[in-house]
């Protein structure tokens, strides 16, 4: 166990192993998410209440799920940074934060556009959308803080503290926003809450969710590789990688 941890701490080992996983993640992720999306868009039956606008679910739910899980993953990485001072955990936070923020923006955007035909307005202070908006604020805070420090180690540890504080707050925020929502508007029509969903609807949704998770895995590994190359640029092995030119292509590591 400890040896594995130690190995995981070695940037060179990580660079190699990530390169081996990445093609699979990219390929499988593309196949699954495209299959889910095409199925959902063209073949899944119409929703009897919302009509065709519900087809936005096949990207809204994956991005919303992923945006929240990425924050959780960052918090776990934050704990690892603080307790074991493992460099790769911090590399992950740096690589994942912008992706998480973009996913949150996507979830908000698709939610708003979906809202127009459903509610008649672009924005509604619905509990889910409001929580997503607050999540976006949390992401922006993390990105802002990580760029504010000139020293990488300091930035890493400060961001780790912030993600951990944020993750303690997330359940409180969710609970309070839900409560606030019931206080102000008696239970309205919720976008994604459906009592029954036929398999022709949820199977493509599941495929799309799985696919985006795999794609996130690919892009975060790729970005982590970049960060590792940058940080370890003075070491022998990075110089060899660079000299071979292998790092410059998108398919570094063979995608």
């Amino acid at each position: 166990m400890w040896q594995f941890f130690h190995k995981l701490g070695s940037p060179k080992w990580f660079y190699g192993i990530a390169g081996r996983f990445m093609p699979w993640l990219l390929g499988l992720g593309l196949v699954l998410s495209l299959a889910g999306i095409v199925w959902g868009l063209a073949f899944a039956p119409q929703d009897y209440l919302q009509g065709n606008s519900y087809r936005i679910i096949f990207i809204h739910v994956p991005t919303a799920f992923l945006a929240q899980s990425v924050y959780m993953m960052m918090a776990v990485a934050g704990v690892i940074t603080l307790v074991w001072k493992m460099k790769l955990a911090d590399v992950f936070v740096r690589a994942a934060a912008p992706v998480g923020a973009i996913l949150t923006v996507l979830a908000l955007f698709t939610g708003a556009v979906w809202g127009k035909p459903t509610w008649g307005t672009w924005w509604i202070w619905d509990a889910r959308l409001t929580s997503m908006l607050i999540l976006l604020f949390l992401y922006l805070g993390i990105i802002g803080l990580s760029h504010a420090y000139s020293d990488e180690k300091t930035a890493a540890r400060a961001v780790a503290v912030l993600t951990v504080v944020g993750v303690v707050n997330i359940p409180i925020i969710k609970y309070s926003v839900n409560w606030w929502n019931t206080l102000h508007q008696p239970a309205t029509f919720k976008l994604t809450e459906k009592p029954t969903m036929v398999p022709e609807m949820w199977v493509p949704l599941l495929l799309a969710v799985l696919g985006t998770y795999l794609l996130f895995g690919w892009v975060s590994l790729y970005r982590m590789q970049t960060e590792v190359l940058r940080r370890e640029r003075r070491t022998r092995w990075v110089k060899d990688v660079i000299a071979a030119g292998g790092g410059s292509q998108l398919k570094s590591g063979g995608a």
């Binding site: 606008s53 936005i56 996507l106 955007f109 556009v113 970049t226 640029r233 410059s248």
Partner: protein, 86 residues
């Protein structure tokens, strides 16, 4: 296929613009993430390649010599010279 024709698929009974905007923005932002990541990688690799070709063995020695103390010698400017002459 849940639609009778291709045009029905595009129009989606009036919901087409909403659905297609969402998917458009989704693919656009996904492409943006990928493009940003690739650009970052290129940038790191390129600056590193430049440094590696420029770096030569003699370099560190000159740096070592340059960084001793500093003599705090005044730098003559035209103004200060004219003052000293007058």
């Amino acid at each position: 296929m849940a639609f009778d024709s291709f045009s029905a698929f595009i129009i989606m009974e009036g919901h087409g613009p909403y659905v297609w905007t969402c998917y458009g923005v989704f693919f656009l932002l996904m492409a943006l993430i990928t493009w940003l990541s690739v650009r970052d990688r290129r940038r790191v690799v390129r600056t590193q390649q430049r440094e590696q070709t420029v770096a030569s063995p003699g370099q560190t020695d000159t740096v070592r010599n340059e960084r001793t103390g500093g003599g705090f010698q005044r730098i003559p400017t035209s103004q200060s010279e004219s003052i000293s002459k007058s």
